[in-house]
């Protein structure tokens, strides 16, 4: 690696150390794991959204040569505990979520039986040979209808479809704000249901070592440590007998931060059948039974003065939770309430969230989790308010930004934003996009009869999750750094990267700080037998929280090494200087000691000071005192084809401030990937269930991910505002693109349609939806 042999590494566009194995096809994903005697599980799943299970006929399946076992809920549920929800919401009504369905099924894809066979093809044959007799029941599919009296019930035993009603309010008195208002701007938005669709579906391999009574579970997960904490109660294996391995994980996006039925089931089967068991999710299963995201219907009211000054914001959200609570299902809509006021000084807020059960797959985190919803609604509302008050939408935003000197900035939602310069990011984005020219071009296009629009989104988000007091399972991170006897450095992190590049970023941090070539640093993660503790990867926490734990470890090692060096120099530690891997003691001796010599002394341990332990290893828990709050401005220009309704993005500028960047190449990749998911959300993607609860978007044919041709060329810029809450000042960037970009695109399309009098369209802005809206205005004009 020619570009890697000089320090400092931090701040450089270094290519990733993860990549050689992946570009050669030598990465090990779950489906690549082969064990002697491996047997294969496949699941029988409900084709109904809601039905009574009358009878399951398994004899034909059991008779197939190669079938080892066929088990139903009656066989498994008594000895396999319920799937946990970790969200702490007061007065939450929750159904018991068994691993396999008992006498009822509650969503399409609900597993009713499991087959185990010597070969995955035979397992699927056996699934087809199982005959389940269902008695269909009315399906609950519309969450707003579901909370009205007389609605059929998703879970009759709960007596209601409402899982919870949660009210968040803060800042000034909200009623007073609305009394003082000159105007109340009202708006309704639907944040559509989305399917995360990592390209690798989920998969599990479970292996039980009967002698040791230990269980190893390889699973395509973002959260191996949380699984190690939560699975013991389900499968009856103690935490210290359970090893979870997240090998290469082919994308997560929030869909893999859960405890899933198949993980517990495969563990159970491996013990029950005394053989290693593999289950690999098909794409159709992934679309149906891996958590979905978003799905919030919101009614919003904004109290404004004539000049556009916003006094308060009220929101009522109906969140479609699906039929069960997965790990964070009910918490995600409440995250929306935490950043409801966006990057604006809005003195009063109140949000009521009603979580509703329907006969669909559970929603849970999807890249951004709660913040894209908040950002989409506040950024749409800013445009609507600007229009209704007759003020410029950029001026309206600028007017409500806190100034850089006002940070830390306490919001009405109850958070304290760590640091920010929202004006700086907006101005930089305007400069990069060539704002005046862009507006002139749009106006000229409009004058020529074309539909051309510009959208702006200024966002702030919550990253580096988070302070333990705000996180159900704790929000610290653990790390360990070991200077080996050979002066190679082993770094172990409790975060579980799956594409975010922390093997590289952490190596950059450690190599610089400890002063060794980056090639000498290895970063390990994702195996609970190696990374003993951790809180894993989600919420853009890897580098900000996990990296901070690593920095603490390095500093402990350097401090210890200084004491050893002082002993060798025959002086005291305060007379030892350390720079780029060399220890010196100017004025005491001209001798220099490098890591090779020092590590040798530390481990051979023949000449240590009496109070110094041998070895050079440190572990640390880093507890963040606050979240971090990255921010930025995205500006998007679009053309809309009047004849087809097709939206083309003609220009895209993103200025993101994630604090100091460890590796700008990786940051760029995170931002670009996030924006692409936003393009999907804004223009193409929607998870659709019909009125019977049938999933209509069950694979890539029906669920439209953006392709290479759908992506514009981006102009990316950044500003750098360090966070005061961690030692490197980093904020996090994993979700920025999905948070900032969706409203920029939506606002641009609605700006393009503004001359036609179209004030709002829900996402996705597919050609069909846009074309119909254009046609409706044409019809209205004609009549």
């Amino acid at each position: 690696m020619a570009d890697t042999n000089t320090m400092p590494y931090i701040g450089r566009r270094m290519k990733r150390v993860e990549d050689p194995r992946l570009i050669k096809g030598l990465g090990t994903y779950v489906d690549d794991i082969r064990l002697p005697g491996l047997i294969h599980a496949a699941l029988v799943r409900s084709p109904h959204a809601h039905a009574r299970v009358v009878r399951i006929e398994t004899a034909a399946a059991k008779a197939i040569r190669g079938v080892i076992a066929v088990l139903t809920g009656a066989d498994v549920n008594a000895s396999c505990g319920a799937i946990p929800c970790a969200a702490a919401i007061p007065d939450l009504k929750a159904p018991r979520h068994t691993v396999l369905a008992s006498d009822r099924v509650y969503f399409v894809g609900h597993p009713v039986a499991v087959v185990v066979a010597i070969d995955p093809y035979i397992a699927r044959d056996a699934v087809d040979a199982i005959d389940v007799d269902y008695d269909p029941l009315p399906a609950v599919t519309n969450p707003e209808a579901a909370i009205k009296s007389g609605s059929p019930l998703t879970h009759p035993d709960l007596g209601t479809n409402v899982a919870y009603t949660h009210v968040m309010a803060g800042g000034a008195d909200i009623d007073e704000a609305f009394r003082k208002a000159d105007k109340v701007v009202k708006h309704r938005l639907y944040h559509q249901r989305l399917t995360p669709m990592p390209i690798e579906p989920r998969g599990v391999v479970a292996s039980y070592q009967a002698g040791e009574q230990t269980l190893t579970l390889w699973t395509s997960t973002q959260v191996p440590h949380l699984l190690r904490t939560l699975l013991p109660a389900m499968i009856g294996v103690a935490e210290n007998k359970l090893r979870i391995v997240a090998p290469e994980v082919g994308g997560g996006f929030g869909a893999k931060l859960n405890v899933y039925a198949e993980e517990a089931l495969c563990a159970h089967l491996a013990m029950r059948l005394n053989a290693p068991v593999k289950w690999i999710e098909s794409r159709r299963e992934n679309a149906a039974v891996t958590t979905h995201g978003r799905d919030q219907i919101g009614e919003y009211e904004v109290a404004v003065k004539k000049d556009g000054t916003i006094l308060g914001l009220k929101a009522r959200t109906v969140a479609d939770l699906g039929s069960y609570l997965q790990r964070l299902t009910p918490a995600v809509p409440t995250l929306t309430g935490l950043v409801l006021t966006g990057c604006y000084r809005i003195p009063a807020m109140k949000m009521e969230v009603v979580g509703v059960y329907t006969n669909k797959m559970a929603t849970d985190a999807y890249r951004g989790a709660g913040r894209p919803e908040a950002t989409y609604l506040i950024e749409r509302l800013m445009d609507v308010v600007a229009h209704e008050c007759g003020v410029d939408r950029v001026d309206l935003r600028l007017k409500h930004f806190p100034s850089p000197g006002e940070f830390p900035f306490a919001t009405a939602c109850g958070l304290v934003y760590d640091s920010g310069n929202y004006q700086g990011a907006l101005m930089k984005a305007r400069e990069l996009v060539g704002w005046e020219r862009l507006v002139a071009d749009r106006d000229a296009a409009r004058a020529a009869g074309r539909l051309s629009g510009i959208g702006v989104s200024t966002y702030v988000e919550i990253c580096a999750m988070g302070p333990s007091k705000a996180m159900p399972a704790g929000g610290w991170e653990w790390g360990c750094v070991r200077m080996e006897i050979s002066a190679k450095v082993t770094v172990i992190t409790g975060v579980s990267p799956h594409g975010q590049g922390q093997e590289t970023a952490f190596a950059q941090i450690v190599a610089d700080r400890i002063g060794v070539p980056i090639e000498d640093v290895v970063v390990l993660h994702g195996d609970t037998n190696i990374a003993h503790y951790g809180r894993d990867t989600y919420g853009s926490r890897g580098t900000a929280v996990g990296g901070s734990a690593i920095v603490m470890c390095v500093d402990k090692i350097i401090a210890k090494a200084k004491r050893l060096a002082a002993h060798l120099f025959e002086t005291t530690a305060d007379h030892v200087e350390f720079e780029r891997g060399i220890f010196r003691s100017p004025g005491v001796t001209t001798r220099e000691i490098g890591w090779a010599e020092l590590a040798g002394e530390a481990y051979v341990a023949k000449n240590l000071p009496p109070d110094l332990e041998p070895g050079l290893e440190a572990s640390s828990f880093f507890e963040p005192q606050n979240f971090t709050f990255p921010f930025g401005t995205h500006i998007c220009a679009v053309d809309v084809d009047r004849e087809t309704g097709k939206v083309s993005i003609t220009k895209y500028v993103a200025v993101d401030d994630c604090g100091p960047q460890i590796n700008p190449l990786i940051v760029e990749g995170q931002v670009q990937g996030g924006i692409a998911q936003s393009i999907g959300q804004a223009l193409y993607e929607q998870t659709v269930y019909d009125e019977n609860g049938q999933l209509l978007t069950g694979e890539f044919m029906d669920y439209a991910l953006p392709r290479a041709e759908d992506i514009p060329e981006y102009i990316l810029g950044h500003t750098v505002t360090p966070s005061p809450v961690n030692p490197r000042g980093v904020k996090g960037v994993g979700e920025a693109g999905t948070i900032g970009a969706t409203p920029a695109i939506a606002n641009a399309v609605l700006d393009a349609l503004e001359p036609l009098g179209i004030r709002h369209l829900d996402l996705p802005l597919t050609p069909e939806r846009v074309w119909k809206a254009i046609q409706a205005t044409a019809t209205a004009t004609a009549s």
Binding site: K15, R16, E18, D19, P20, L22, I23, K24, G25, L26, G27, T28, Y29, D31, D32, R34, Y121, P196, M197, P198, I199, E200, P201, E248, V249, G250, G251, G252, F253, I280, S282, R283, H498, G499, Q500, G501, L665, I666, E668, G669, Q672, G673, G674, I675, A676, Q677, E699, F700, M701, L705, P706, R707, A708, E709, I711, E713, Y714, G737
Partner: protein, 169 residues
């Protein structure tokens, strides 16, 4: 009833009895242990399973192993020569053309095929040529950069046009 299948995979002759219903991708992964070729959708849409069959990009989840009888198959494991990364692999590394890496082998094989058809594509042609491959992580920009870089390499385009002839030499 298993039937014999003879083919060359990454220049190694292979002869095996294979059930007629076994997909090429499962033959490569499960019988030959070439797990670099991934299964992402089983419907030929995502392209994670793309390999070259007689120099042409094929989604190996939509082809039976028996249909490949007599063919020359190249997988991601077979495109580096003498330990040297293929220019497309090098491009993906240099340009950060991958994140989780799951779509990457198929994406690289599709790009190798693309450069065989059009040795100097512009960005639009690269995007068009990769329309059969989905990536959920990168947003494609860096992938296009990677292929554009590879296109500048003199040996990038020779590969798929001549099947594995280049690899043999």
């Amino acid at each position: 009833m298993p039937i014999p299948v003879r083919l060359r995979v990454n220049n190694i002759p292979r002869q095996q009895e294979v059930e007629p219903r076994v997909l090429l991708v499962h033959y490569l992964r499960d019988l030959l242990g070439l797990t670099g070729t991934h299964v992402g959708c089983e419907t030929g849409i995502c392209g994670a399973c793309t390999v070259l069959v007689d120099g042409k990009a094929v989604k190996s989840c939509t082809m039976f192993a028996v249909q490949a009888d007599g063919s020359d198959v190249t997988t991601i494991e077979g495109i580096a020569t003498n330990g040297q990364l293929h220019p497309v692999q090098q491009g993906f590394w240099d340009c950060h053309g991958l994140q989780c890496g799951f779509c990457t082998p198929g994406m690289i094989m599709a790009a190798v095929h693309l450069l065989g058809e059009n040795p100097s594509p512009n960005r639009e042609q690269i995007a068009h040529g990769l329309r059969g491959n989905l990536c959920r992580c990168t947003g494609y920009s860096h992938i296009i950069d990677a292929v554009a870089q590879a296109a500048k390499s003199p040996v990038a385009s020779g590969f798929s046009r001549t099947g594995s002839e280049v690899a043999r030499g």
